[in-house]
Symmetry: D5
């Protein structure tokens, strides 16, 4: 089962069941962003997670197996054009060097891991317009010398 | 005064004064990430902010004037190769579509603004390795229909 | 239903019904440019808008559902080669920096929103050759400082 | 005199004189966007226009001559990363095909000229946030058959 | 009917009828280059032109309708690699700036239209090797000032 | 002497002498487009041609020598953004495949040479707007089989 | 019949017949490299050549016809990644400018034709490791002046 | 001493001495293509070769030292636009896959080395037009299995 | 049988048989990395190797034949976005020039072969986190002079 | 002091002192590859390391300070063309997917760190041609779930 088919199968099933990612978060005990990453083939499930999700969405064995594969990740080498996704690229364009300066000042030479990493999304209600609040937590990895 | 010269002038002065971005945060009443963005010509200061920074770093009138220009922003149309910056691009590659799915589910059709936007960086001490914590807050802008 | 199929379904139905975008403008109470954006999967309809369009074009339930999805937007990261579309890219190439200078002078540091945004197209009859008149209106978003 | 030098000379002189593009509009009898285009080497002045601007900004003969050259135009073959300019690229990405459909429906096969073309920028004051209003007028050029 | 299918249908029919573009030139009263452009979906026919071509090539109603669509034009944003087409790109690479200099000197600031434009191809017989003669005629469009 | 310097030297001298390419055409017995190509380092002069041009423009020995070098040709691997030059790229985009079809039909498998090639530019006066007339003549080179 | 299908048909038939390009060289009286180019749609056969090859490989009329088409040539605008093909690109990267210098010194301003061109491949047996010997012969085309 | 300066120094000295690459071939006992590669910083000389060339061109110690450095090689990741160099790229585009097929058939899985490699250029006089003859010899490297 | 199909066939069979690459290493007497390369069409098997693998995975004759083809190798001309693969690209970005300096210092001018080359992967167990150990061995190829 | 200047200063000093990276390895107690990375601004030294290197190479205070900066890393977003560096890119092209498959099989979903990472280079003497032996050791980072 190819990744794109799996993605469509998962979104179709979720829609038919009337489930939101927030519902799946409760069900699986995993954050909704991570579950959405699983839907897009950007993460891989353990056997029991795949089973649980399979029961919730009435998936067949093939799909349950495919959820446990180690996928080829990433959107591809491109500047995104979808406006929602582009804004994150723009944040990197505008605030990438400032972030680098601040992180190095606080932590020294190294990076924030994108692997030992988690993020979540909250909705902040605000009369002047709701706000999206995103928090990221990544392990700092200092550059090894040898 | 060209942007790159301004950036060098600012970093040199900050080093000679032995100041950290955190110190400038206290001084200016602005977040250190925003101040670092100012250093890299990704933000523009109001007259009083430029004066205050000018006094702290002993800048000349030219530099104080240049801090108030409206700069051409962005790193340029590229995939970054610096590992620290790349990790943010990778987060976009891997978690961009999942973020889009979750934000649309919570807010409807629209985007998180990168203009009415702020972010900050915290250091979380952890015996298994310190963690970088980044939080972003952007106004949700629903797509206008007309 | 994939976006490209939906686009073809909509254009085929519109042609068979002998409807112009201007007719749909009257029918839906939405501007013809916005409706054309909906046809190309660059906008999403509310349930009642999708129903109304569905009745006008005799669409099935699948298509009516697809009109309400939140699409992946944008033509992709490219320089367009269709001459009509390219001219808008050329306007950006030639008048982009001048526009930036004038907008900053009038409004300060910030951008014109492409989300809280509308545009329309008028035909100006002229004996020396008709003219295309395009007007755009976007909310000015000042850069937030924090 | 190279274009970039001319651009800097013009902006510096304008700043020292305390003039806005709107002031130059009155002075030259040309729209401020066109004058900004002249500043960025995207348009060429007639001899009398160059003289008039030269007197207003106290330019030397070299600069007055350079204003009358036929410049190499365009920002270069790239996706812009400055947020203000990018939004116009995004409008093209999102609304380019819809515009094409509507223009063809109204005018037939052809394009809106980017040469026999003018545009202007107005500020609309609005309590919910000011709006940028841009209007473009380009001659419709029907595709010649032969 | 998709453009590529239409192109194949037209070339197949032309081959089966044993017709050359030169024959179709006589038949339609249009230049062979323009007709070849129609075959590749780079031009659109009027109803009577589509009918005439449809009779000559025994096309069905779908194909006759498709000839009247307003196509998405251009090969795409690329450096061509077919040697015949590349040579025209090379002419642009080598003689583009010289052409710009000569046209500006003769006409002033503006461009040669690629819309109000025609071209044709002649074979010049020559004992030292036949020559391809191409002539182009495009309206000069002076840059509008406003 | 670097090519760009040579180009500037030549254009400055030509301007100071008040000469047009058409004047140089008479003087050198070469077409003005070829001479403009020489100015941009896209062609190389024979010793006597370089001397003749050197006398006309009062060039020094270095420049006269540089005119005889075999330059690195081409604008570089890019989509041009100058509107005048872009229109020729667009002609290639829109009419490249049709040209290929017509040339192959008239001549068989092969190309039009861009080396054994000449082109010229004429101004056609026309009350509805002057026209640029370009004619190209290139040797047909049939593909060798071996 | 599409080019890729033709390529597959030809390679499959050649394998089933147990023929090598060297055998086809004898059969057709053409060099094996040229025949391989025909297999990949980079050359076109005369009617009798197509017939001869058709008999040798038991091709049907469609394939025999397709061999006589004038194909769209080239791999596309890319840096090749197959190691065998890349080495030729690397030779161009490393020895391209030196070749240009030597050819200009020997022949003057012009190029080696890639159309009036032939190449062949020989295997040189060598106890220290066999060697590939490639020889190319292309007509020198001097730049025409006009 | 930077590579580009070294290249200019070498070409200037060679011109002043009135030497051709063929003369340097005799002097150094190395092929003229290899020597041209040395001029462009694509090869490195042994100490005695650098000394010999230094004496012939009256180079200073810096330049003689620079000839022995191990340079960063290659023109950069691009499609060349100089017509002479492009033709070699086109040969790769058109005959790359055929070469691969013929070499694999003759030698098995592997490549022709671009390191254990030599090439030379001969001028073949021909009344119908001189021909460039290039021969390349590279060691065949079979793919190691492990 | 196309390469991608072969890859899928091989991975499906391996999974159904419950075999790991380490098991195939024992079976074939070849390193698991080389075998994985064979799975992805980046290497070609000898007849007996293909037979042995065919028996282990119960492949049909077509697949066994396809394993012996000489494939078109490489992922394509791109910056990889899969995080695991990207890290190797990043190592090249960060340590590529240092590696070049050290290898040249130890070996002189030349390269490490990627053809006469082998690599393997070991798992180092470590209480602070397991480590991936990769060792590569490639023949040094000194640049030939001629 | 800019990075490129620092790199030149370091290489010049190392040459004048007649030191090899292997000598600096002994002196600093760091691997020669890491030291070469420091030379190219791809790593940053601690204060005592910078002092020690400063004494060995007789660097001034500016250079010693610059060695401790946190540099912008990476060669830039490109396919390398230097043959030595390209071979590592080719290894990634050819063996990247196989490496991914083997590492996932041995370790599960995750990556080899390029930060908690070391590598070294050994020369293996071999009568059939010396071999370059490279070993890499990187911490395995399992994908965090959250």
């Amino acid at each position: 089962m190819h990744q794109q088919q799996l993605t469509e199968t998962l979104f179709t099933a979720k829609k038919q069941k009337g489930l939101r990612f927030a519902d799946l978060e409760t069900l699986l005990g995993r954050d909704e962003v991570w579950i959405a990453a699983l839907f897009y083939g950007q993460a891989s499930a353990a056997a029991d997670e795949a089973e649980k999700l399979g029961r919730a969405l009435e998936l067949d064995a093939d799909a349950i197996g495919a959820l446990q594969e180690f996928p080829l990740k990433g959107l591809g080498p491109m500047v995104p054009t979808d406006p929602l996704i582009y804004r994150f690229y723009e944040i990197l364009q505008v605030y990438g060097m400032p972030l680098k300066a601040v992180i190095h000042e606080k932590f020294g030479d190294g990076i924030m891991s994108a692997i030992d990493f988690s993020m979540n999304v909250e909705k902040e209600t605000d009369p002047k317009g709701d706000r999206v609040h995103i928090s990221m937590s990544g392990k700092f990895l200092p550059y090894k010398k040898w």
